[in-house]
């Protein structure tokens, strides 16, 4: 280990502290703004802290739009999507790693190419397909159109390749068929990878905006991203609206921040290990 002088260390700490504050500050500012009165939020020079935290702003925002319902819709669709993504991806990843068949390479390459393509390029026909299925303006439409995830297939395949051959052969020699090998060997062996993939996919689905905003029209089906932006564009930028807009943003971000605080090690380890798209 290189000898690092104390002063060098102090510089590192100082810079890291400054950068950390800068990165987190927009979130802090959102919280502070959500607790201010309209006068405070528009004060020049800045009022850093609310003199009397306006917790009522959250109730005020909830009165104007059902953010609780939006958050439920987002969480619910994201969980269902991740569940199906994991099941379907584990099946195809099993085939890609444990079976030999014609066109396997072609299949994997087409999945790899799809990983690189901008999803938005499929939106016009996909929209028509969702409409033909009669699933426009339903949560089912959002779920069904998102359960194919090239990203999870890709990462599950990588995880399955790490499972030792001896374990699979041992299970087979004890008479286990493919379903049993997948369920009793592959899935348990790759538990932590599967959990990380699911976690990241959950965050991406919760944060997804463009595609869901095309599918749903009625308020009871809004996802939080759609509902929040609709709230933002309809409430205008008058002085007394900003604290409520900030309170609504806090409500939208809070579930993810709690998840992150609880599971930050999984996120941080998982992302550098897996090579996740941004």
């Amino acid at each position: 280990m290189e000898m690092v002088s104390r002063s060098r260390k102090m510089i590192h700490y100082a810079l890291l502290t400054i950068f950390s504050i800068v990165m987190v500050f927009p979130l802090v500012w959102m919280f502070l703004s959500a607790l201010k009165t309209p006068e405070e939020i528009f004060a020049v020079p800045l009022d850093w802290l609310p003199s009397n935290p306006q917790w009522g702003n959250f109730a005020g925002a909830l009165e104007l739009a059902p953010f609780g319902l939006y958050i439920f819709n987002s969480t619910f669709t994201a969980i269902v999507i991740v569940f199906f993504q994991i099941i379907l991806s584990s099946m195809i990843a099993y085939a890609l790693t444990q079976m030999t068949f014609k066109g396997k390479k072609l299949l994997f390459n087409s999945i790899l190419i799809t990983y690189m393509l901008p999803a938005a390029a499929t939106y016009v026909p996909s929209y028509v397909i969702v409409a033909k299925l009669g699933l426009l303006d339903t949560l089912a439409g959002i779920i069904i159109s998102n359960i194919a995830s090239v990203f999870t297939i890709f990462l599950m395949r990588q995880a399955f390749m790490q499972v030792p051959k001896e374990m699979i052969e041992a299970a087979r020699s004890e008479g286990a068929n493919d379903f049993a090998v997948l369920r009793k060997v592959m899935m348990p062996m790759c538990k932590s990878s599967i959990f990380t993939v699911g976690l990241i996919s959950f965050v991406q689905m919760y944060n997804n905006y463009l595609w869901p905003s095309l599918i749903v029209n009625s308020q009871e089906n809004y996802l939080i991203t759609v509902g929040l932006n609709r709230f933002f564009t309809t409430s205008g930028t008058f002085a007394d609206q900003w604290p409520l807009i900030m309170a609504a943003s806090v409500l939208a971000v809070l579930p993810l921040l709690i998840l992150f605080v609880l599971l930050q090690k999984w996120f941080i380890k998982g992302i550098s290990d897996s090579g996740v798209k941004g």
Partner: protein, 290 residues
């Protein structure tokens, strides 16, 4: 295992997962290319084939080149700072300091948040008269632009948000790559009296170049798809200064319902992405040290 059993198993393990993949990826990709040769407007049940007219009109329109220019500008100025900032943060994290996990979590936190919510928060920070950013700029007597309504500044505003959100993500990959550089390499540099810059140039940058390549490719593909922050903060304006190719595509398809032209544009975006990925993949042999 007999042949029928094998085929049945394949049908199960590959066939079922392929259904959504085919329905919502492969078929739409192909249909999108097909629609790009028509003049379909979504509402009418019929349409005509118009040959390459949609491509011709895209490639001769000022809107297209303006959006292309914006896309390249946005891509370049988000990728470069994200990568430099990510590497610098990772370098700071390196040397056996206390509380590294805490710092990592703080620096990475923006990535987790929904872009829509954070774009709204940043719209507030960018507010020209009372917003946080301009008030801070005011302390130093710097120019206080009206960020989101000034066509010179709007793209920079979008870029700042995007870099803010992604720098911590790039940092994680660099931190991982740096942790694999043996300490001896650093020491050699030290004994030979190599300065910090010299060491960066001869040891660090070459050794992390595979990570850099990976981050550039992923960020480039990602920047082509940027939408949420543009939709929330500027809707492509002012005067089209933040309208990227993807945003133009969205407007053509879902605001004007000009499906033929929109899908032609989508095809061009796909080609652009593909070419970009290929160039970087093969070009990388010259400067990436594996």
């Amino acid at each position: 295992m007999n042949r029928f059993g094998n085929a049945g198993k394949l049908l199960f393990f590959v066939g079922i997962p392929m259904i959504p993949l085919v329905v919502f990826w492969f078929v739409p990709m192909a249909v999108s290319v097909w629609l790009s040769f028509t003049n379909w407007d979504y509402i009418s049940p019929t349409f005509d084939y118009v040959g390459i007219e949609n491509y011709a009109s895209a490639l001769t329109s000022a809107d297209f080149y303006n959006a292309l220019k914006n896309t390249i500008f946005f891509g370049f100025w988000t990728i470069l700072p994200t990568i430099i900032f990510g590497l610098l943060l990772a370098l700071l994290l390196r040397k056996g300091l206390k509380g590294l996990t805490g710092f990592k979590a703080f620096l990475f936190a923006p990535w987790i948040t929904p872009m829509v919510a954070m774009s709204i928060v940043w719209s507030w920070i960018y507010e020209p008269d009372v917003g946080l950013l301009n008030q801070i700029l005011g302390w130093f007597n710097l120019r206080q632009p009206s960020w989101l309504t000034d066509s010179e500044m709007a793209m920079w505003a979008i870029i700042i948000v995007t870099v803010w959100k992604n720098a911590g993500w790039a940092m994680l990959f660099y931190a991982d790559a740096l942790s694999k550089i043996p300490d001896e390499l650093y020491e050699v540099g030290n004994i030979e009296g190599a300065g910090w810059l010299q060491r960066m140039k001869t040891i660090v940058i070459p050794l992390v170049s595979p990570t850099t390549l990976f981050l550039i490719i992923i960020s480039a593909i990602d920047s082509i798809q940027a939408y949420d922050q543009i939709q929330v903060m500027t809707q492509g304006g002012p005067a089209g200064s933040t309208r990227t190719l993807l945003y133009l595509y969205y407007q053509m398809a879902f605001e004007q319902f000009n499906m033929g032209q929109a899908t032609a544009l989508a095809t061009l975006i796909v080609i652009l992405t593909g070419v970009l990925a290929l160039i970087m993949f093969y070009g990388s042999k010259r400067w990436v040290h594996y």
